[in-house]
Structures are given as C-alpha cells and as structure tokens.
C-alpha cells in the first residue's frame, strides 16, 4: 500500500482538524463541515474516518477535560501529526502541479 494514499473524505476531515486547531473533536468537525461545505455526515462516519486517520498516523488524539454539557463525558481532541502535515502538503503540491498544466481554456464552462 502506498503510504501517501488518502481518500477524499479523509483529506477533507484532516483539513478540518487542521482548521479547528485546539477545538477539533467529533461534533465540532461535523458541524464545521456542515456549515462550510454544506455536507452532512453521520457522526459515526466522522468517527470511523478519524479512526482510520489515526491508524495511518496522520492524526494523534488526546482526551480533554470533563464538561457538563454532554453528561460529564470527555471529548477526544485530534491534532494533525507531522506525517499528516506532510501528506496534506503533498496533495496540495500535486494538485498545484497538475493545475498549472491545465490549458487556460480547457475548464471554462
């Protein structure tokens, strides 16, 4: 398996984790994607993707402190790892490279 392989959903969620910084946990990620991309994901899908990302080593996680708002349950906060940063940058570079090669009239609609 190529180590840099990453799915579209994984990429978007990884980016969202990067955007949200200290506040990146399940519900926040879901709501952010809903607001910004108008994309509704089931909470279980988000958890599953985050789980995959952490197995691939692109995010690390740690439990936060207890809060009253969710029945005293703690949140799991995610952070993009170095490997995660690299893979995001690689994707960005690859895209930029390809975009620069597209003739200017090819994508006008």
């Amino acid at each position: 398996m190529r180590k840099t392989y990453i799915g579209e959903l994984e990429e978007v969620i990884l980016l969202t984790v990067a955007i949200l910084q200290e506040e990146a946990y399940g519900v926040a990620i879901g709501l952010h994607m809903e607001q910004q991309l108008n994309r509704k994901l089931s909470i279980s899908a988000i958890h599953a993707t985050l789980h995959r990302l952490s197995k691939k080593g692109y995010v690390s996680s740690s439990m936060g402190g207890a809060t009253a708002e969710r029945g005293g349950r703690r949140k799991r906060y995610f952070k993009v790892t170095t490997a995660g940063c690299r893979v995001l940058n690689e994707i960005q570079d690859a895209r930029n490279l390809l975009w620069s090669q597209v003739p200017s009239n090819a994508l006008t609609t």
């Binding site: 089931s42 909470i43 279980s44 958890h47 599953a48 969710r70």
Partner: protein, 872 residues
C-alpha cells in the same frame, strides 16, 4: 419549568455491550451533543428517532469489540457437526426411521392444521373496510324464557340506528330468503338471493362489473346478479337492463357483480333491492317494521374512524331502552360484533351462513399439539436412552475446548436437521391427506380449500424448525451437562439408566393421550350408531320423502299412486326428527299462560302410515280443502305440561285449546315421539290437519327393484315439473345425514387417535429395542444360569406392560367422566357408556404393544448365550 429532553434510554446499553470500551465515552458524548442539537432543530420526536438511527450506525467494525474466540474456522466446525450427525443417523437406522417417521406424521397434521386455520382466518378479509365493519346482534330476553343472542336484528333497529346514532359512516340492512323461479322468456330457473339496500355495495367490497354501485340497489325491483347467476339465468353475463320475471312481477337487472369469494360469510347469487321488500313486505308481514321482528333481517354498519365501540354500545343501549318501554313481557337489546368474529366466533342463533365455532378450532389445535408433542417425546426419549453412545463424543469435544453452549447448539442443530428432513416427507403426506380431509364431509369442502401460498410455506417451515427445537432441547441440555472427565474415565461410571423416571413418565403421558383419543372415538361411534338407529316412537322404514317445491300435491299423488311399488302416500308440512321445526303459541284455560309448542300439519294418512300410536281418541278424517280446520292431535307431553284433562289422555279428548289465536278441539292423544332429534328432550307437539299441507309427500315403498321404482318416480316428476330437480330421500338416509356431523367428528378424532397410537407405539418399540440390546449380556448370563425363556420375556416386558396399565388407569376414568358428566349431558337421550366401549380401545393398543414388546424380548431371550458372551 421545562423538562430537559432525554434520548431513548434503551439503546445505550446495547451500544455499551458491543462497543469498544475505550471508544465508548467519546461516542456517547458526541451522540448526546448531537442529540441536543437535533432537539432544537427538529423537536424531541424526530431527535429520538435520529438518536437511535445514529447509534445503530456505530455498529461498524472499527467501533465493535473484537470477538473473544480467536478461532475463526466456524465453517469447518459446522461441517464436523453435520458429519457426526449424519454418521450417528446412519449408524442407527432404526432409531432415525422411528424419529423421522414420527415427526413426519405428526408434522403433517400440524401442516394441515396451519392450512386449515389459515383458510378460516382469511374469511371476509377482502373487504376494504373490514376493520370498521360491525354487525348488529339482537339479545332477546323474554320474561318466561332463556336469553338468546341472534345474529339477526329488526329492520326497525337498522332504521333507528341510521337516523339517530352518529359516528356511523354507513349502514346496510339485508334480508335473507329471497327466492323463487326466475322467468326469462319461456325459461324458468330457480334463483336464491338476499334483499339488500343501496348501502350494501358501499359497506362491503363486492365490486360490480357492470352497473353503477351507487344506484344499482336503490329503486324497487332492481336485481344485481353475480356472474355465475347471470350465466345460469341468461347463459351470458352481458345482461344489464334485461328483465326477469318472478311470479307476476318484473325485475330489472341493474348490476353484474363478480362472484362472491369463497372466503366470504355472505354467499349469494342475486341481490334484490331492499326497497322492493319494503313495498311488498308490509303486505305479507304486518309486523315487518316492528321492534320484535328480528328474525330475518341483518344490519351491518361501517363505524367512523374516530368512534369508539363503547360510545356506540351506549347509544344502542339507549335506543333499546326507549323501544323496550313500548313492549311487554320481553326485553330486546342490541350488541355489536366485529366482522372478523362472525365466521370464526361464538355460536349465534339465526346465522346468515355457515360458521365455525372457535371452540372447535381450539380443540383441533389442542389435539394437533398433543400429537406433535408425542412425536417430540419419542425423539427426546430415544436420544437420552442412547446417550451412552454419544457421551464419549461429547466428552472429547469438551476436552478439546467445546463450551456448553456449543454442545447445546450442536444437538439442537441436529434435531432441527432431522425435523427438516421429516418435513420433506410430511409435506408430501400433507398433499395426499389434504384431499382426504376435504372430502370427509361436504361441510369441510365448502369451508376451506387448503390451497398453498408462499406465506403458508413459510409458516410450514417455521413449524418444522420449531418442532426440531422442541424435540432437541432436552437431549441437548442433557448432553451439554455431561462431565468430560467422568465419561472418559470409562463408560461404566456413567449411570446408564439415569433419568429413567422422566422417560417412563413421557411414555405414560403418550399412552394416556392415545388411549383417551381412541376410547373417545369408540364411545362417540357407539353414540352415533345409537342415534342413527334410534327408536323415534314412529316408523321410518321404507318411507321416501319428496319435497314438493311448490307443485300441486294432487297431481303428483294421482300419478304416483298408480305405481305398484308405492303402497301408501301421505302429506306433511315438515319431516320430524331431522332438526327442523315450526313453533306455535298454545293457550289452555289460563289466557295469560301461553307457551311455545312444536307444530306439524299433516293429512289424514300421515299418522297411520308412520305408525304413530294413539293413547286416546282417533285420527283425522278426510275433509275437503275448504272446510274449517278445528281439530288437533297432541302428544302426551302437551297434556302434561298444560295439565289438560287432569293428565288423563282419555279426559283430554274434546278439550279446547287456543293455537296461534285459533280455537281447536283435541281429538286424539299420541304416545310421545321425537319431533326433534334425540339430542333434545321431548317437548309438547300439536299436529293439525289439512287436506293440503303443501311441503312434502311421504311415500311408503315396497319393492324389490328400487332403482326402477326411483327412476319411474323421477320420470313422473319430470312430466309435472321440468324446472326443479326431484328432491326425494329415504327417511332413514335423512336421519343418518342429520348426524353426519357426528360422523365427521369421529373421522377426525379417529384419524388423530390412529396417529397418536402409531407414534406412541413407535416410541415404545424404540425403547424396547434399546433395552433388550443393552441388556443382552444380562439375559445371556441369566440364561446360562438356567432362566427359562418365558421367565426372561416376563422380566424384559414387565416394566413396559406396567406403564401401559398405569396409562390405562389414568386415561379410562378420565375419558369416562369427561363423556358421562360433560359431553353426553348435551344429548337428552344418549346411551350410557358400556364397559366394552371403554375397554375396546385399550385392548387394541395393548395387543399392538404386546406384539412389539413380545417380538423383541422373545428373540432376545432365544439368542444363543455363547455368542453374546464369547468375548468376555
């Protein structure tokens, strides 16, 4: 203060069970947070739903706990189960055959029962509004009589409900017994049907092929025919607007309807608008619109969706109260009955069509369950008895690491497998038995068709699996409890005959039920024989009853009396002792004491020809048709009940009584005879005279060539009436037919009894084979030591014969008391139960059992000890 919404509580434990504990906290937290969001956005109800859905969505691999068992090769294990099951089945052909046969036979009865009940339950299911259709029943309570619940209700009740009670979407009134000869051009065809008002087609779903359902039954003299009826009348179905003449009136065909489905409690070929009857009926029946004429009309209503039954019943009660205030000596109340309880339900007087009692169905289901359980007992018994052979296998499995659950699973799976195997046979058996069952009695054929359907097959397979589970669960529990160490140490340490009491009691239960069934069959059969040949108090021998069907009696009598085989001819209004009757009100001196008596109208030849015995007085004499009829002949009971002539028949002659408001003189007293069937006690009967009673001819036949006589009678009939078929039956055959329902019961119970005996005999046989096999060495040693063959047979069969006698001691008294104290009390003139009837079944069962036990033990006792003991 506003309450904080809670997500559904039941779903969380589920999640906690299956979810990885380290992920649980964040998942539950996130879900809860989302839940509050949903509550704000969509409200609590939808939020709850979403919560459940999203929780369930977490059932994906990443979140689930890892399965504890690391062995993943379940398939191999399963194959191993199948293989061992197959081997053990193949090794014990006899036991496998006994099990499969027993299960197959009992299962086929179960399948039959499912198909039967399925058909019964599909009655009246085709109506679109079936859940809202109710029938109005009448509860009649005369001051001096018993309460009676009737399926019918008065037309007045129907009108009043329609006018004054709200919450009813629609209501239709039906009247039965529309009938006559339909005349189309020169052709005459008899036609039967119902009167129904214009709402009939709205309340019920009987689709019209032609005609407008809204108006078809509106105008007087409208006629709606089913396809079949139209076909019979016109030879085609495209007959809208044609006229049909009944007597002197023309009816117009305003609709053609699809034939009534088989599974409908309303069966008819024609509907005539109720407005026709409203026009005619007031002439023929003066009290037609009265509150008390509730015998021939039926009211069905369509309840509004938001109306409750309680409210409706309360309204009906109020209505009855108002109406009852106007009548004397009687109270009439109305009740409601849901459509789906009409066909299968409690017995009501005056039912509009055939129905079946729910009690009968439960009895049949009960019998079926007993037969099935009996077959399951066989399986349980034989498996546990042979436990020695399989206990080593279980021991090894446990040592290797099988858990108790797995052993249970293995044995249950095995029994389900056998049960499914038996299902194949039972299905074939069902297909053959189906024809037999339907042809037991025309009533059953009329009732059900037992057609297969997809859903039915699913039920069948479910039954097969259930039977497998039932048969296998005890052996499975038993085997799973075996201790590996104990078994592997040596078979001798395993108590071979453990649970012997349980096995014995299972055999006793089986035989008790078998004996109860078989004895019941014999007893009922003896009663049937007795009823069919019952001494009714008059002679029925060689009497042929011909239904006149509206023809002139004189004409037929003239022709028929010319036949040499016909020695005497009489006329009567009805035929006694067949279960039909006409009642009349009779008064003696006390003008307030009127009471119901049975009535028949006969000519002067009737009583002598039927051999009725006069206690006093004389027979009627011939009178012309126009003479005033003022004579009556009564039976002893009538004199006794009314205290006429101080109970002396001779003094009763010449007394005057009032019958249906007319004064008549008693000219004769008859010895009591059975006007009703022997099921009922003899009650007062009054016989009137008429030169022309009009319904039946009674022919006394004396001939050696019956077929020729019958065909010449038929020839005469055809000359006089070419519309109706000759309806001539011998009195004795009619009497037998009156009790054919009893014969039907005998056949059904008899068949089940036969199966029960077969299954328990199979089980017993298996047990005997097993015992003799395991005791072979003991027998040999005994033989070497000098025991005789007879001694050994006695030793081996003693315990089984004892078991049989124990069952007989339970079964026979139970059956006796059940029939003597409960069933036969419903029959006023039953025969008492003879000892022979009680013992006949026992003897039969005993002989079968002894042959089986004897053959096995005898061959064991005769075996050569040297061969058995050679390798010791």
């Amino acid at each position: 203060m506003k309450e904080v919404p809670h997500p559904p509580k039941w779903i969380n434990p589920l999640l906690e069970r299956v979810c990885k504990p380290e992920l649980l906290e964040e998942i539950e937290g996130d879900l809860l947070e989302y839940y509050y969001l949903w509550v704000e956005r969509y409200g609590t109800a939808k939020a709850n739903r979403l919560y459940v859905i999203h929780t369930l969505k977490f059932l994906r691999p990443f979140a689930l706990k890892k399965s504890r068992s690391k062995t993943t090769n379940h398939f191999a294990m399963f194959r191993n189960y199948l293989k061992t099951a197959y081997r053990s089945m193949a090794r014990n052909r006899l036991f496998t055959t006994i099990n499969v046969m027993g299960l197959a036979v009992s299962m086929s009865v179960g399948l039959m029962m499912i198909a039967f009940v399925w058909d019964l339950r599909s009655y009246d299911n085709f109506h679109e509004n079936k859940d809202r259709i109710y029938r109005v029943n009448t509860i009649n309570h005369p001051d001096n009589g018993p309460i009676m619940t009737l399926a019918s209700s008065s037309a007045k009740a129907g009108y009043k409900i329609r006018e004054s009670i709200s919450g009813i979407d629609d209501l239709t009134i039906i009247r039965r017994n529309f009938g006559g000869d339909a005349q189309i051009g020169e052709k005459k065809v008899p036609l039967q049907g119902l009167w129904a008002d214009h709402s009939f087609l709205k309340v019920f779903t009987f689709p019209l092929l032609q005609g407008d359902p809204a108006t078809a039954l509106k105008e007087p003299y409208s006629l709606v025919l089913t396809e079949k009826g139209a076909e019979r009348l016109f030879g085609e179905t495209d007959v809208l607007g044609e006229t049909v003449r009944f007597d002197t009136l023309d009816y117009m065909v305003t609709g053609i309807m699809k034939d009534t489905p088989k599974f409908s409690h309303l069966q008819f070929e024609a509907l005539v608008s109720f407005s026709t009857f409203e026009l005619q009926g007031s002439e023929s029946d003066h009290d037609f619109f009265g509150w008390k004429s509730f015998y021939n009309n039926y009211t069905y209503l369509l309840l509004s969706e938001n109306m409750t039954l309680q409210t409706l019943q309360a309204n009906l009660d109020r209505l009855s109260e108002v109406e009852n205030a106007a009548i004397e000596n009687q109270e009439i109340n109305l009740s409601i009955q849901p459509l789906h309880q009409i066909f299968v339900g409690h017995s009501l007087v005056n039912e509009i069509g055939p129905r079946i009692s729910i009690v009968a169905i439960w009895v049949l289901i009960g019998l079926t369950v007993i037969v099935i359980l009996s077959a399951c007992f066989n399986y349980t018994n034989l498996s546990i008895a042979r436990s020695m052979r399989r206990s080593r296998e279980v021991g090894i499995r446990k040592v290797i690491g099988a858990q108790r659950r797995q052993v249970i699973g293995q044995f249950v799976a095995e029994s389900v497998l056998i049960s499914l195997f038996a299902f194949v046979f039972s299905f074939l058996l069902f297909l053959t038995l189906r024809e037999q069952f339907v042809s037991i009695h025309p009533f059953i054929a009329h009732l059900v068709s037992l057609e297969l359907s997809g859903t039915l097959i699913i039920y069948f397979v479910t039954l097969a699996v259930l039977i497998g589970l039932m048969a296998g669960i005890f052996p499975a529990l038993f085997f799973s409890r075996i201790k590996a160490l104990q078994v592997l140490k040596g078979v001798s340490s395993l108590r071979l005959f453990q649970r012997i009491n349980m096995r014995k009691s299972l055999i006793v239960i089986q035989y008790t039920f078998s004996l109860i069934f078989i004895t019941s069959t014999v007893i009922v059969y003896a009663q049937y024989k007795n009823f069919v040949s019952f001494d009714l108090g008059f002679s029925t021998e060689n009497i042929l009853n011909i239904k006149l069907q509206g023809n002139k009696a004189e004409l037929l009598i003239k022709e028929l009396s010319a036949l040499p085989a016909v020695s005497k001819i009489s006329q009567s209004q009805l035929i006694s002792s067949l279960g039909v009757g006409n009642s009349a009100q009779l008064k003696y001196r006390d003008p307030n004491d009127s009471s119901s008596v049975w009535k028949n109208v006969v000519d002067e030849h009737y009583l002598p020809m039927h051999g009725h015995k006069f206690l006093a007085g004389k027979n009627f004499t011939h009178k012309s048709e126009h003479t005033q009829q003022d004579e009556v002949i009564v039976n002893e009971q009538l004199i006794k009940q009314f205290g006429i002539g101080s109970l002396d028949p001779d003094h009763a002659i010449g007394e005057i009584v009032t019958l249906n408001g007319k004064k008549v003189t008693i000219i004769g007293v008859l010895k009591d005879f059975h006007y009703q069937t022997p099921q009922h006690a003899i009650t007062p009967v009054a016989i009137l005279n008429s030169a022309n009673p009009g319904r039946y001819l009674n022919l006394k036949i004396s001939t050696n060539d019956l077929p020729a006589t019958l065909s010449s009678i038929e020839h005469i009939w055809k000359q006089i009436d070419d519309v109706h078929l000759l309806d001539a039956q011998f009195y004795d055959d009619q009497l037998a037919y009156t009790f054919s329902w009893l014969l039907m019961i005998i056949k059904v119970i008899g068949f089940i009894a036969f199966l029960a005996v077969c299954i328990s005999s199979l089980g017993l046989f298996g047990m005997v084979v097993f015992t003799t096999e395991t005791k072979l060495k003991e027998i040999s040693i005994r033989k070497v030591l000098g025991a005789g063959e007879r001694n050994l047979v006695y030793l081996l069969s003693k315990s089984y014969v004892t078991l049989l006698f124990v069952s007989a001691l339970i079964a026979l008294p139970v059956t006796y008391f059940f029939f003597d104290k409960i069933i036969l009390t419903y029959f006023a003139y039953h025969q008492s139960i003879h000892l022979v009837e009680l013992l006949a079944g026992l003897l039969g069962v005993l002989v079968i059992a002894l042959i089986m036990i004897g053959s096995q033990t005898f061959s064991a006792a005769r075996s050569n000890p040297a061969q058995t003991l050679r390798d010791e």
